[in-house]
């Protein structure tokens, strides 16, 4: 089972929920938490454990051998302006390259062999029974998607269906989010009951519907704004899976990098509610 935790707007509590849910579930089940918010990977700040594995993640980009007839086909082929012919030089812009291989494989003189370029690091951490994997985009790299996609490949190659896999997705509604949630069985959208929260939630819902995903909403900082988010979910028949109340203690624990469910019973209650609605809980809890 793969669950993606996403939100249209950043800072709604996505990471709080992802780290809490996975830590709590890992007390009774095998869980892998994966931080796919590769531009700003934050989950690690809440996970205490030992690093068991680390590797560079590369994408394949062309490199010019410097020896060709300068036909200029490569420039014409590349749809992303990553190859340009300037005078007697072929110039490459690897940050723009999508690694489609077209220029390299169609070059009549094989003058653009593909070479790996490091775009980020993947780290694996063992925290009790919880396995945590994160990828961090190199600063200056512009594209998150290839790193997200390779991180998911790593997960698929190392963990079978017996694991519950939880993705902490990037915020927003553009391509990185799609990449992060496209093979999830279920998506949890975290939002706040404010006008910004609602506006961004609607965009996120649009994405999920376009992707034909099963999804539900968790309202964070419940009680802060107004009822419009709940009314909207009601009207659109979107399940509200849990409501985490607007509690200053939660914000303070989060600020300190602490997990919340062990200290705040109301939060744990909502977590259990969420687990039950996702049919993830193994024991029937009396709460």
């Amino acid at each position: 089972m793969k669950i993606a935790i996403a939100s249209g707007k950043g800072g709604t509590g996505k990471t709080t929920l992802a780290t809490s849910l996975s830590s709590h579930l890992s007390e009774t089940q095998d869980v892998v938490l994966v931080d796919l918010d590769v531009e700003e990977p934050n989950s690690r700040l809440f996970i205490r454990g030992d690093q068991t594995h680390s590797q560079s993640i590369c994408k394949q980009v062309p490199e010019w051998t410097g020896d060709c007839s300068l036909c200029g086909q490569c420039q014409e082929i590349c749809n992303f302006n990553a190859v340009i012919k300037v005078g007697t030089q072929i110039m490459l812009f690897p940050e723009l390259c999508h690694s489609c291989r077209a220029c390299s494989e169609l070059c009549p003189e094989s003058a653009l062999p593909l070479k790996p370029r490091k775009i980020g690091m993947l780290n694996q951490i063992q925290a009790g029974n919880l396995i945590f994997v994160e990828s961090r985009l190199e600063i200056g790299e512009q594209q998150a998607v290839p790193l997200i996609s390779q991180t998911k490949d790593y997960i698929d190659n190392h963990f079978d269906e017996s694991y519950i896999i939880i993705y902490d997705s990037p915020p927003g509604t553009s391509c990185p989010v799609i990449e992060a949630s496209k093979d999830a069985d279920f998506v949890i959208l975290v939002t706040e009951p404010t006008p910004f929260g609602l506006y961004d939630l609607k965009l996120a819902v649009e994405v999920m519907r376009k992707m034909k995903k099963d999804f539900g909403v968790v309202v964070n900082r419940d009680g802060l704004g107004n009822n419009d988010v709940l009314d909207y979910c009601d009207m659109e028949t979107i399940p509200v899976l849990a409501r985490i109340s607007n509690d200053r203690r939660i914000a303070e624990l989060y600020a300190a990098g602490e997990l919340i469910f062990s200290t705040i019973p109301e939060f744990k209650e909502q977590l259990l509610l969420l687990e039950r609605s996702l049919e993830l809980s193994t024991v029937v809890d009396p709460v």
Binding site: E39, N79, L137, C175
Partner: protein, 297 residues
């Protein structure tokens, strides 16, 4: 002309609320550019009138003509993105996966694949409720290349600033360190970070600071929710001092930000409370910088 960019690294630090207040205080002396195109929320505070809208096209999508397809599978063998799917011997394009590279089109022997440009959003030129020109955008869902849209929004804002003789362009940047932020930062004169004293806030500020360093832009920071955690606050202030980030102001946790938002108002027009006072002073400081720091283009 000066470009001031407001960014946060981490989402949810109150960046847009701060940005909204500055826009309000700057009245019609500014041109405003909402470059947080992925989650563009600023319009909810500034009431733009959508005077002019233009379509934004970016990226291509492969379209397969079934009548011409001879099911040879050439496209399938070159596509790196699972954009071609075969079902019982026939092929179709999976639009969600297609990167628009066009490799399949080039190898198709019967020209059955065409590349189509995609309309992925709209951008607008408006007059905000305080009379300033505001350039903003709406990116369609799952769209690519928000960096280019950011560049377009900024260029339009620059054009207006020049035409109207405005000295300051105030830019709302997006979270993260990817293409959209890179676009927002290029050409900027000053960066205002809005962050919070939490482990995530500090972590993300560090990452985005490294990016800003690469652009050699001066920067200052507003610490929102400064009373969240005193230890983190100390850590944050030490980091800022080491990194050469000016400490513009600190704002205690204040729910009037949300109360103002519920009424579609910026904080400084909603009330004259302590947070508003801090924002008014901050804006004076930032403006002073913009006016005195020379090199007017």
């Amino acid at each position: 002309m000066k470009e001031i960019v407001v960014i946060s690294g981490k989402g949810g630090t109150g960046k847009t609320s701060v940005m909204g207040s500055f826009s309000y205080l700057g009245k019609s002396d500014l041109v405003i550019a909402d470059c947080d195109v992925d989650a563009a929320d600023l319009h909810m505070l500034l009431g733009p009138d959508y005077q002019r809208s233009e379509d934004y096209y970016s990226g291509e999508l492969a379209i397969l003509d079934q009548d011409k397809c001879i099911n040879c599978g050439a496209c399938l063998s070159v596509c790196q993105f699972d954009g071609i799917q075969s079902e019982n011997g026939t092929f179709r394009i999976e639009a969600m996966n297609c990167e628009g590279c066009g490799y399949c089109q080039r190898v198709c022997p019967t020209n059955a694949i065409q590349m189509e440009t995609q309309k992925v959003g709209e951008w607008y030129t408006s007059s905000s409720k305080v009379g300033s020109t505001m350039v903003h955008a709406k990116l369609g869902v799952g769209a690519e290349n928000s960096g280019r849209l950011v560049a377009q929004v900024k260029n339009e804002a620059r054009r207006h600033a020049k035409k109207e003789g405005k000295e300051i362009i105030l830019i709302d940047g997006s979270p993260g360190i990817g293409c959209a932020v890179n676009s927002a930062l290029s050409g900027a004169d000053y960066v205002v970070f809005v962050t919070e004293p939490s482990v995530s806030g500090i972590h993300d500020l560090k990452r985005v600071t490294e990016l800003v360093k690469g652009f050699s832009i001066r920067s200052g920071c507003i610490i929102n929710k400064c009373d969240l955690n005193s230890q983190m606050l100390d850590e944050l202030i030490t980091f800022m001092a080491d990194a050469g980030i000016e400490h513009i102001a600190s704002i205690p946790y204040d729910e009037t930000f949300t109360a103002a938002m519920l009424e579609g108002k910026t904080l400084v027009e909603y009330d004259k409370g302590p947070a508003s006072q801090v924002l008014i002073k901050s804006w004076e400081k930032i403006k002073q910088f913009a006016e005195t720091e020379g090199c007017l283009k």
